[in-house]
Symmetry: C2
Subunit: 236 residues, 2 copies
């Protein structure tokens, strides 16, 4: 009994979430903002990854920080002069689109750029909820072990961009890169995998370049999108 009611309710929540996510995505596209949903397990270096990407960006970064509790990372980013806004979920295991819609009302998008949304540290639940992103950026690490794509397939399957962090520690680990890549490619043929180190800073220039290229394509796409939208409105 519980299960059936649970599933029905869950589907209702997902429909509503997807609807609001689409609204967020359109709204951000209109502002010339590429939205990046940054996912990964606790401690993979999600905030460190952002800081390293910012060093190589020419576009303006915006950040929404998702945490169950604490604002340690937001304080850290604000100290660097980054436009950062905190969401605390107090127990909820993932961000959802209504949270992001609400947060965007408090962010002054004064110029085009990239909005990074750091999701809750969790390799399971966030993968089930779109939050209005154009790009799903998954952060994984060599310290987690090479079997992660096999054990947590949904996140790897949905990712548009995969980061393999902490590669400076490879000499001290038994990380099997072939097994890791084989697991990814069984799920996801296209996502580029960038090897980086938050400690040495290596590899992030390429990540920033990939994201900025996507952001620049978004501007081109935006005009098409607006154009189509007008037609769409006419029909209604």
């Amino acid at each position: 009994m519980h299960d059936i009611r649970k599933i029905d309710l869950q589907e209702g929540i997902l429909d509503e979430n997807d609807h609001i996510a689409e609204h967020v995505r359109e709204h951000m596209t209109d502002h010339g903002i590429l939205v990046v949903n940054e996912m990964g397990a606790p401690g993979v270096g999600k905030t460190t990854t952002l800081k390293n990407i910012f060093r190589h960006m020419t576009l303006k970064p915006y950040v929404i920080e998702g945490d169950i509790e604490s604002d340690l990372d937001t304080v850290d980013l604000k100290n660097l002069g980054v436009e950062a806004h905190q969401i605390n979920t107090y127990g909820a295991c993932h961000l959802d689109a209504p949270m992001i819609e609400h947060a965007t009302h408090h962010i002054p998008f004064d110029e085009p750029g990239i909005m990074f949304i750091e999701n809750i540290g969790n390799l399971v639940c966030p993968a089930e909820f779109t939050i209005g992103e154009h790009v799903l950026m998954l952060v994984s690490t060599v310290t987690e072990g090479s079997d992660k794509p096999y054990k947590y397939p949904l996140a790897f399957e949905k990712a548009d961009l995969i980061i393999l962090n902490k590669v400076d520690l490879i000499p001290y680990l038994d990380f099997d890169e072939d097994f890791y890549m084989k697991g990814i490619r069984a799920l996801n043929k296209d996502a580029p995998v960038f090897k980086v180190s938050g400690r040495t800073g290596e590899g992030f220039e390429e990540v920033a370049a990939w994201l900025e290229e996507r952001a620049n394509k978004l501007e081109v796409h935006e005009h098409h999108h607006e154009h189509h939208d007008h037609h769409h409105h006419d029909k209604n």
Copy 2:
């Protein structure tokens, strides 16, 4: 509207879960089996921790392996001759008590010992659901960073035993042990913290000794418990 219905339903599920968890706990106590709920983020070394504990155990180990998908760890453990049983949740972000109750029917508990239940790799959701454990064993690592107790407080608050794994990597990291311990002690005054390395094997002898001492106390407690239970049954 969704939120209110969601909360009511969630409370109903928790009540039913807690009821079944209590049943599992009593059933296992009657068999002289200490139940350990092993929690931790993906890649912290939960299976490696079990394998290292087994090397120092005199009691018989039983294992239930929880994974979203795959049976890599169960195959690994069975190859070592350990009584291991797989649960795949296919998306669910935590184990619950009904899953454990079902699994225990398939395990021949032919002698007293310790049953380790490796939960889904997730530092958020599993902390909200008891699954019939006597001991909640949390595995964390130096590679995750020293801020984890501040960001994921529930798991650290509820833990009976905390393992800090991968200490062999400390020389290559900026792990702040004082900050980590201060975060734990603000939430949890009593849980012992064992520093271990799955790579070198150090520290696990003490973990095994702590668990076996608890298991041996369980046998003493069992008799009291049965005694009380009979009174209880009489009243019904």
